[in-house]
C-alpha cells in the first residue's frame, strides 16, 4: 500500500506537469461550462417560464455537476493517449503497481477539477447565485461533487483504456457532453414526457444535481421523482460509490492484463 502511495503520487505529479505543459484541453473542459452557464442563464433563461434569477440559482449547481461529469471525457482522453502511445510500455515494464497509472491520473484529475471549480463558483456568484444553506451543507455539496467527479473519471479511464484509438476515444468523449442534457442539470424533469423523465431521473447526474441544489439551499427536492432524485444525498452517494466499486477494479484489471 505504501508502494502504491509513492508510485501513485509520482504519477499524480506526472499528470499535473503534463497539464502545465499542454493546458488546452483542461482549460477548455473547465471553461466550456462557464460559457454554458452564461448561455443558459441569460439566453435561454430569459425565454423560460421560471423567473430568471430563480432559474440561474437552479442552473449554477446543475452546471457544477455537469462539469464534474466531464471527468468522463478528460479521463477517456488521457487514458486513450497513454494507452496508444509508447510511454505505456515503459510504465508497464517498470516494477510498479498496475493500479499506479490510473490512480495517478484520477487523483490529478480530481485536483484539477477542484481548482477549476473556483472560477465557475465566482461566475455563479456574480450571476446572483448564493449558498442559501449552512456552511456544513455547502461543504457536503462540494464533497459530493468531487466524489462524483472521481467516479466519472474512473469510468473515463476504463473506456479510454479499452478504446480502439485516440481518435475513437476523442469522439466518444466529446459525445458525453450530451449526458447532462438528459438529466435535470439544466432544466427540471417535471415537464418531460413520462419515459424521458424516468430516463433522466435515473441518470446519476440528476441525483447529484438535486442533492447539490438541496445542500446549497437553492431548490427543494422535487416530489414524485424516481428514487435517486427523491433521496438525492443517499442516491448520489450510492451512485458514486457503486460506480467506483465496479469501475476501479475493472480499470485496474485492464491495466494489469497482458
Amino acid at each position: 500500500m505504501n508502494a502504491l502511495a509513492l508510485e501513485g503520487s509520482a504519477l499524480v505529479g506526472r499528470n499535473l506537469r503534463r497539464i502545465r505543459h499542454a493546458p488546452a484541453i483542461t482549460v477548455m473542459t473547465q471553461t466550456m461550462p462557464i460559457v454554458f452557464l452564461l448561455f443558459f442563464g441569460y439566453v435561454l433563461g430569459g425565454a423560460l417560464a421560471v423567473p430568471g434569477a430563480e432559474y440561474r440559482s437552479f442552473l449554477v449547481p446543475g452546471l457544477l455537476v455537469a462539469t464534474a461529469a466531464g471527468g468522463l471525457m478528460t479521463g477517456m482522453f488521457q487514458a486513450a493517449q497513454d494507452t496508444h502511445r509508447g510511454v505505456m510500455d515503459r510504465f508497464l515494464t517498470l516494477p510498479v503497481s498496475r493500479a499506479a497509472v490510473p490512480l495517478g491520473q484520477a487523483v490529478a484529475d480530481l485536483l484539477v477539477c477542484a481548482v477549476g471549480t473556483v472560477p465557475m463558483v465566482l461566475v455563479g456568484l456574480a450571476m446572483g447565485w448564493r449558498v442559501e444553506g449552512t456552511a456544513l451543507e455547502a461543504l457536503g455539496a462540494f464533497g459530493l461533487l468531487l466524489l462524483f467527479r472521481f467516479a466519472t473519471t474512473w469510468a473515463g479511464i476504463l473506456l479510454g483504456r479499452v478504446s480502439e484509438s485516440e481518435e475513437a476515444a476523442g469522439q466518444l468523449g466529446s459525445a458525453t457532453f450530451m449526458l447532462p442534457l438528459l438529466s435535470n442539470a439544466y432544466i427540471p424533469t417535471d415537464g418531460m414526457p413520462g419515459w424521458l423523465r424516468t430516463l433522466a431521473e435515473w441518470n446519476p447526474i440528476s441525483a447529484v444535481a438535486t442533492a447539490v441544489r438541496a445542500l446549497f439551499g437553492n431548490a427543494p427536492v422535487p416530489t414524485g421523482a424516481a428514487w435517486p432524485v427523491a433521496h438525492p444525498v443517499a442516491g448520489s452517494l450510492l451512485w458514486s460509490l457503486g460506480l467506483l466499486a465496479v469501475l476501479v477494479p475493472l480499470a485496474v484489471r485492464r491495466y494489469a492484463r497482458r
Binding site: L6, E7, R85, V87, T93, P95, A100, R258
Partner: protein
C-alpha cells in the same frame, strides 16, 4: 563451467486471431552476451520482445528471464529488465528531465541518477525541453537512458536505430557496445544485417514466428558459403564463364549483363582465388577482376530465407 542464460525461452507461441505471430520460438541467450533477433517486418520479432518484457502473455511456452519465470513471476522479471521500444517509450508531453526523474522516482532511485544519465547521453542541454520537440536520435537516447536508470541485467532493444541518421545510429551502437562490455545482456531486434553483424555475439534469424537459423555472424556466413565473382573484359557472351563457375561451385551462377559479372555461391573450401583465376584463364576467358569473399549478412539473409520461400 556451465553457462548461465539470461534469457531462456521454450516454445513461445502467440496468436492474434488468424495471425500466428509466434510458432514456438526457442531462445537461449547466455549472460553478458548480445543476441540479435534478425528478420523482416512481420516475422514476430516485436511480439517476441513484448512477451519477454511481460507486456504480452504467451499463449503457450515458457521463459525464464534473469532467473525469474515469465508467466508466474512477471513482477520479478520487471525488476531485472528494461526495454527501449520501437516507438520511444517516454512521455512526449514532459521534458527530458521530467521523464527521467519520474521513472527514477518510480524506481526509488535518487534524482541525481536521472541527471547523471541526462549528462551521459548528451541530453543535459535539452533537459528542459519537451520530449516531443526532440529529434529522432535524441528521443532514442532519452529512451535508452530511461531504460538504464536501474542498471538492468537484461536490456531489450526493439529496432533501436530504425529511422535514425548514421550519426545517431553510431551513438546508439557505441552505447550498446559499452553496456555489453560491462556485462549487461542485450537482446535486440533489427532489420539491418549490418547492425546485427556489428553488435551481436549470436544472431537468430526469425522467420514466420520461429528461429529459422542461429549462430555467430561468422557461422551464419559460413553456412551460406563464399561468393565467387568475375568481371569479364570485352563484350563477349557471359555463358562460358558461367559454365566454369557452375562446374567449380556446383551452384547456379547469376549473370549480370549490365555490370558484365558472373557470380556463384560456393561452400567448397578448396576453391581459392588463385584456382578460380587459373580455371577461368584456362578456359580462354578474359577477365578484369575476380573476387572470392564471405557473403554479406544481406546475402545470407536473402539466401537462407529465399530458400525457404522456394520450399514453401
Amino acid at each position: 563451467m556451465t553457462t548461465t542464460y539470461a534469457v531462456l525461452s521454450e516454445g513461445l507461441e502467440k496468436r492474434y486471431g488468424e495471425v500466428h505471430a509466434l510458432r514456438g520460438l526457442d531462445l537461449a541467450v547466455p549472460e553478458g552476451t548480445v543476441c540479435g533477433l534478425l528478420g523482416p517486418n512481420g516475422a514476430g520479432k516485436t511480439t517476441a520482445v513484448r512477451i519477454l518484457t511481460t507486456l504480452l502473455a504467451p499463449d503457450a511456452g515458457s521463459a525464464r528471464i534473469a532467473g525469474h519465470d515469465l508467466v508466474r513471476d512477471p513482477a520479478g522479471v520487471r525488476r531485472r529488465i528494461a526495454v527501449t521500444g520501437q516507438y520511444a517509450s517516454v512521455d512526449g508531453d514532459l521534458t527530458g528531465a521530467e521523464n527521467l526523474r519520474l521513472f527514477a522516482r518510480l524506481l526509488r532511485l535518487p534524482r541525481s541518477r536521472a541527471d547523471e544519465l541526462l549528462e551521459e547521453f548528451g541530453l543535459a542541454g535539452a533537459a528542459d525541453r519537451l520530449a516531443r520537440t526532440y529529434s529522432g536520435g535524441m528521443l532514442r537516447r532519452l529512451d535508452l537512458a530511461a531504460g538504464l536508470l536501474a542498471r538492468p541485467s537484461v536490456l531489450f532493444l526493439d529496432e533501436p536505430t530504425t529511422g535514425l541518421d548514421p550519426r545517431s545510429r553510431n551513438a546508439i551502437w557505441d552505447a550498446v557496445r559499452g553496456l555489453a562490455e560491462r556485462g549487461t545482456t542485450v537482446v535486440l531486434t533489427t532489420q539491418y544485417l549490418e547492425e546485427a553483424d556489428r553488435l551481436a555475439d549470436d544472431i537468430v534469424l526469425v522467420e514466420d514466428g520461429r528461429a529459422a537459423h542461429r549462430g555467430t555472424p561468422a557461422e551464419l556466413k559460413a553456412l551460406v558459403g563464399s561468393r565467387a565473382e568475375v568481371v569479364l573484359a570485352g563484350a563477349g557472351p557471359l555463358e562460358p564463364a558461367a559454365a566454369v563457375l557452375d562446374r567449380l561451385t556446383g551452384s547456379a551462377p547469376d549473370l549480370d549483363a549490365e555490370r558484365r559479372t558472373v557470380g556463384a555461391i560456393t561452400t567448397d573450401p578448396t576453391l581459392t582465388l588463385p584456382r578460380l583465376v587459373r580455371e577461368i584463364d584456362a578456359a580462354g576467358i578474359h577477365i578484369v577482376d575476380a573476387s572470392l569473399r564471405p557473403p554479406t549478412l544481406d546475402e545470407v539473409f536473402l539466401r537462407l530465407t529465399g530458400r525457404k520461400e522456394t520450399a514453401a
